[in-house]
């Protein structure tokens, strides 16, 4: 049934604030009534907050060799070290680095790479998708064929390729500093096609709606129509993909780092920590692998569940 009419005009109750409207929205109601959504949201927020506040929460700066004490090396979790009488929640690695602090900083790097690459790929994909959908013709054919080709390869392969090519171009002296940026670009470039496809689809729908035609009659330029009219109306699905992709990007970064082409041990991400840790697994020092790995799993799972829920919650009543 269609909605009949709103309150008569003239009385003009002031429009509620954005926040008040959000609290009253169907989306927030769906959130309130979904335990999975609440749990994954809290978990994500806690982990993101912990990563951001790593300098405050960590017991040491794990990358400052000066604070490391070799005597504390390979202390198991919760066990008091016999030389210094200190105990470590997650244990220590061979250099005496506190794994708890390392995991905090590692999560920070992982999230940074993940979030930045998502922003990059979403930005690229949205711009290309908008252009393909709105301009049509050859622009569309070109962009979408590239997207099709790229989607037929696994993202990790694309990322490896981009990363490898970029490494070949950059002089070795700057390679280590540039690694972070390269990783972000490589992961971002491997994921834009999905955004482009979705945004193109939504744009094709929106551009035939009468509000876009009205803007054209007024004489608005295609650029302004895409930016001010269509973009705000295609951001819903983009948010969903971005959330799910954040989890995927974090895993992609971990994979690259695990393979040894990602973050260097001097600036380790969770993936780097896992690569280091797996060397000690069979000699009994399980905690060096275990804590980074479980953190990665929980982080990816929480964000993924949140994204999944968001997709379901937005889907049936998108419009």
């Amino acid at each position: 049934m269609q909605n009949p009419s709103p309150t008569p005009t003239g009385e003009a109750a002031p429009s509620p604030s954005r926040w008040a409207r959000f609290l009253d929205s169907d989306l927030f109601f769906a959130f309130k009534t979904s335990p999975v959504a609440i749990a994954s949201f809290i978990l994500s927020v806690v982990m993101i907050a912990a990563a951001l506040l790593a300098p405050l929460l960590a017991t040491q700066d794990p990358f400052n060799p000066a604070v490391l004490n070799l005597m504390e090396g390979l202390t198991p979790p919760g066990v008091t070290n016999e030389f210094t009488n200190k105990s470590f929640l997650f244990g220590t690695d061979p250099q005496g680095r506190d794994m708890y602090s390392a995991v905090l900083y590692g999560t920070r790097v992982s999230l940074l790479v993940g979030a930045a690459s998502v922003v990059f790929s979403a930005g690229l994909g949205v711009v290309l998708g908008l252009m393909a959908g709105y301009l049509g013709g050859k622009t569309e054919a070109l962009i979408m064929r590239i997207a099709d080709i790229q989607l037929s390869f696994p993202a990790i392969l694309i990322a490896l390729l981009v990363f490898g090519v970029a490494r070949g171009i950059i002089p070795p002296a700057q390679q280590e500093e540039a690694t972070l940026i390269l990783l972000i670009l490589a992961i971002g470039l491997s994921n834009w096609a999905q955004y482009a496809r979705t945004v193109r689809g939504s744009t094709l729908i929106e551009k035939n709606k009468e509000y876009v035609q009205a803007a054209r009659v007024i004489g608005r330029s295609p650029f302004l129509i895409m930016l001010k009219h269509i973009l705000p109306n295609v951001m819903g699905p983009v948010t969903v993909i971005a959330t799910i992709n954040l989890a995927l990007a974090i895993i992609e970064e971990a994979t690259l780092s695990f393979l040894g082409v990602g973050m260097p041990p001097t600036q380790p991400s969770l993936g780097t920590l896992i690569r280091i840790g797996q060397q000690f697994l069979f000699s009994g020092e399980w905690w060096i692998l275990f804590f980074p790995a479980i953190t990665l799993i929980i982080l990816a799972l929480a964000i993924n569940l949140l994204g999944d829920w968001l997709r379901d919650a937005l889907n049936p009543r998108l419009q």
Binding site: M1, Q2, N3, P4, S5, P6, T7, P8, F29
Partner: protein
């Protein structure tokens, strides 16, 4: 065939039918004590604006209310027997056999994967005790009757091979297949061009007149009602505002809403100058005012309208839910 057990009574009798939607913002009353009868062979038009509850009334009668909607009171009787409390299984047997249905979009009534002749024959066999050959012969006869050209070849066509008007004819033949007592037609011509609409209305009128089938014709188009219906019920905000013989309601409406509605329709036969207009629009379900639901828009409202809800009262040949009628003042 035993058509009914009380030939004298109405085919359909709806009394105090109420329907509500349970939402997280509270319970919304979508139908509020709707009552009307449809006599044998009669065409009752149900007219109203979007959100008035006219389609919901039709769905409620045939038991097609989906969650979160639920019937909250009243009863529906078909040939004197209650059908609103039947099981979904029993209701399914009534739909098609006793009550035929025609919807706005013919494609919702037709299965795109089956030939139209098979769909009609299927319906005939499901409800009547006949062989497959007899059912097919009947399907052919029905298609001929509804004016499908070259029915012998079209009987094996798929729904998408028909034009919009022809498809609606197929749906009519499907609705009539089991010789129901009542047909509920919900906006049957809204999706069609005027020239095709005229064909469909003429067809529906002729068939039901010949067979003595009653029709509940739900539409927003007062012109279609004028041409087709014997009586008309005007609905507003989930209630019946006025019900009566079609000529009386159109020429001499008793309820101010019905009067406003008639004045708002541009006429084809003369230029009326400025159209009468009712200010505002129908209230949302969550904001139906107490007393008479039309009061905030009514030019003749007085104190009692805000305090008490009027029930249908006799006013000439019609019945109107308006306190003005109680006072003997025509709208």
């Amino acid at each position: 065939m035993t058509k009914n057990n009380n030939a004298s009574g109405p085919v359909l009798s709806v009394s105090d039918l109420s329907l509500e939607f349970v939402t997280r913002r509270g319970v919304l009353k979508a139908l509020d004590r709707v009552s009307f009868d449809i006599a044998r062979g009669e065409v009752l038009g149900v007219v109203g604006e979007s959100g008035a509850g006219k389609s919901l009334t039709g769905s409620a009668i045939i038991g097609l209310i989906e969650k979160p909607g639920r019937l909250s009171g009243g009863e529906v009787r078909l040939n004197g027997e209650r059908i609103d409390n039947l099981s979904p299984e029993a209701m399914r047997k009534i739909r098609g056999r006793k009550i035929g249905m025609i919807f706005q979009d013919p494609l919702t009534s037709l299965n795109p994967l089956f030939r139209v002749g098979d769909q009609i024959a299927e319906t005939v066999m499901a409800h009547m005790n006949v062989s497959r050959a007899e059912a097919r012969a009947r399907a052919l006869a029905l298609l001929t009757e509804v004016g499908i050209p070259a029915p012998e070849s079209r009987i094996d066509a798929y729904p998408h091979e028909f034009s919009g008007g022809m498809r609606q004819r197929v749906v009519i033949s499907l609705a009539l297949a089991a010789e129901p007592d009542l047909i509920i037609a919900d906006e049957p011509t809204t999706a069609l061009d005027v020239s095709v609409q005229a064909q469909i209305i003429t067809l529906l009128k002729r068939l039901c007149r010949e067979r003595g089938t009653s029709v509940m014709l739900i539409t927003h188009d007062m012109g279609v009602i004028a041409e087709t219906a014997d009586r008309v019920a005007v609905m507003y905000a989930g209630r019946v505002a006025e019900i009566g013989p079609v000529a009386d309601v159109i020429r001499n409406p008793q309820h101010p809403y019905a009067a406003g509605l008639m004045g708002a329709i541009p006429a084809l036969k003369k230029n009326v100058g400025r159209l009468a207009q009712i200010s505002g629009s129908m209230p949302r379900l969550n904001a139906i005012p107490p007393g008479c639901a039309f009061r905030p828009r009514c030019p003749k409202a007085f104190d009692r309208c805000a305090a008490e809800r009027p029930d249908l009262m006799q006013a000439g040949k019609s019945r109107a839910a308006c306190w003005l009628v109680d006072q003997g003042v025509p709208a």
